[in-house]
């Protein structure tokens, strides 16, 4: 062996691949690059057995240094043994036979953190000088940070857009006069219930004598009455129920849960009673009432919005015919009654 041969090889490798180890034929570490020393941080590293410190998981090797030599040039998946297992990529190269770089039979093992570099930098307090000048590790760390910054910016933008979208949707589904849901809110509300197969009642309410309030007291009074009606409906429904203003003086209430005919009659009666409370406006008194038609989802094999709206309409029509200010529940007989008496319309009031 030429004196200093290993030292000069080491000095060269320290710059080119600072995380390398030189292992002799017996498996003992005879030299370690500066970054390898920093990472291994083991007293008496020189002389340690390489395979005591590292486990080569893949490929499966013959035991000892001959195994490493046989895997020359192949990608090694190693694990640094210890409380926290650090995964490393590596490659082994046998020392040349001409003894120029030291006694033959040993290997040089070069290591890298691979994708785990982000954690390793923190764990071992690595600096850019700890990586080879040509190593892309620092560029990779840069990319990780740049990605974090940009992803954060996108996420914030998306959150703001999401918030704006929710507000816009809410506004699109809201009646500006009463603050109730509008016709656009009807379908999604019904769809939610039919999809979850929850029982519900569709209640179609049409105000009576509202037209005359508008005609005699003016539209401002009419608007005031509508707002008052909205307030009453909101007060009377239960949590989870929905009130929608589907037209000028028409409302749809969706009452969730299984409600009996008797209970529906009671609820409707109370609603009408409250709607009939006189409403004061600019020294005048407005009086209205309401007609109600209802139909229950439980009476259909597959509840469909269009069919249920039709049926609630028929029940409402029957309530109007019965003298207004009352409630009728849908029954199949109503349909037959209408079909046999076409053209018998109820004049709007």
């Amino acid at each position: 062996m030429r004196p200093g041969a290993i030292a000069s090889l080491g000095a060269l490798l320290d710059v080119l691949c600072p995380m390398h180890l030189i292992v002799d034929a017996m498996g003992r570490i005879t030299h370690a690059g500066p970054t390898a020393r920093k990472v291994l941080n083991t007293k008496g590293l020189i002389g340690c057995d390489f395979l005591d410190l590292f486990e080569v998981r893949r490929p499966r090797l013959e035991p000892g240094v001959p195994g490493l030599r046989a895997a020359a040039g192949r990608r090694l998946h190693c694990v640094l043994r210890g409380p926290v297992e650090t995964e490393l990529k590596g490659v082994a190269v046998p020392l040349p036979e001409d003894r120029a770089l030291g006694p033959p039979g040993g290997v040089i093992v070069d290591l890298s953190f691979g994708i785990g570099v982000m954690d390793a930098v923190g764990r071992h307090d690595l600096r850019s000088a700890d990586f080879a000048v040509t190593d892309l590790a620092v560029e990779m760390l840069y990319l990780v940070e740049a990605k974090a910054v940009v992803t954060d910016a996108w996420q914030k933008l998306n959150q703001r857009l999401q918030g704006a979208k929710a507000v816009a949707e809410q506004e699109a589904h809201t009646d500006t006069l009463t603050g109730l849901g509008n016709r656009r809110a009807l379908e999604p509300a019904i769809r939610r219930l039919t999809e979850s197969e929850e029982a519900f009642t569709l209640m179609h309410l049409d105000l009576d004598f509202f037209k005359s309030v508008n005609d005699t007291l003016g539209h401002a009074a009419g608007d005031h009455v509508l707002r008052r009606v909205a307030q009453i409906l909101r007060e009377e429904i239960r949590k989870g129920d929905t009130v929608i203003r589907v037209g000028g003086d028409e409302f749809v209430l969706i009452l969730v849960g299984c409600t009996s005919e008797e209970e529906l009659s009671r609820i409707s009666g109370r609603l009408i009673e409250r709607l009939e409370e006189p409403v004061a406006f600019n020294g005048e008194v407005a009086r209205i009432s309401g007609s109600i038609g209802t139909t229950r989802s439980g009476t259909y094999a597959t509840p469909r919005l269009a069919v249920m709206m039709d049926d609630a309409d028929l029940a409402l029509y029957a309530a109007k015919q019965a003298g207004r200010g009352c409630h009728k529940a849908f029954a199949p007989a109503l349909r037959k009654a209408v079909e046999s008496r076409p053209g018998d319309a109820v004049t709007p009031v």
Binding site: V121, S128, E145, A146, V149, K156
Partner: protein, 197 residues
């Protein structure tokens, strides 16, 4: 112009001169609502308008405002992320100067639509350098002034003592002279690789 640049201008004006000043500038530039989104694109002329309005309201030269923006980008806590990304470029200020050529490519790596003008370093020897900033399409402002402010703050960050001078603009190419008096004049601000997230 990329929203990141516009947003940087906005944050600088907000943080330095207050929200009211910013809102007046935004009004003058017809920016409604008065806010830039970092991840959206805006017409180049809008950036120019914002700078003109700012110069008018603050009674400062546009070049001075641009230089302050460059300094702000590195030194203000709001943009700590950018300072970290810049520090990745080199272990010391000389290293950093030599990496300036990579600056536009690095910016593109972070945000592919972020298009910065080409930057080149000429080493004149004796610790004297020239940095040239080329034309970037229809850029509405002189990026060289921003770079000057940024270099000044980065020198501070590295603890280097430098003399910087904007030598003006010829054929659309700006030149900055950099004289490195002492590479390690003071202790720089600390920087740790992989500190994010």
């Amino acid at each position: 112009m990329h929203g990141l640049i516009n947003r940087a201008i906005e944050l600088f004006l907000r943080d330095t001169y207050g929200h009211e000043a910013w809102e007046e500038i935004a009004r003058g530039a017809d920016l409604a609502p008065p806010e830039f989104e970092a991840m959206l694109d805006y017409p180049d002329a809008l950036t120019g308008d914002v700078l003109v309005q700012a110069a008018q309201l603050l009674d400062k030269a546009e070049a001075e405002i641009l230089e302050d923006i460059g300094t702000y980008l590195v030194s203000h806590p709001t943009s700590a992320a950018l300072r970290r990304l810049l520090r990745f470029s080199g272990a010391d200020f000389t290293d950093f100067l030599h990496s300036l050529d990579d600056l536009p490519a690095r910016a593109r790596l972070a945000a592919p639509q972020l298009d910065l003008p080409p930057v080149a370093l000429v080493d004149r020897g004796q610790q004297v350098f020239s940095v040239t900033v080329g034309k970037r399409g229809t850029a509405g402002f002189a990026f060289g002034h921003v770079l000057l402010g940024l270099l000044r703050a980065m020198a501070d960050d590295y603890g280097a003592l430098v003399l910087l001078e904007h030598k003006g603009c010829r054929d659309g190419v700006e030149t900055i002279d950099v004289q490195l008096l002492e590479a390690a004049f003071a202790i720089g601000r600390s920087f740790v690789l992989g500190a994010a997230g």
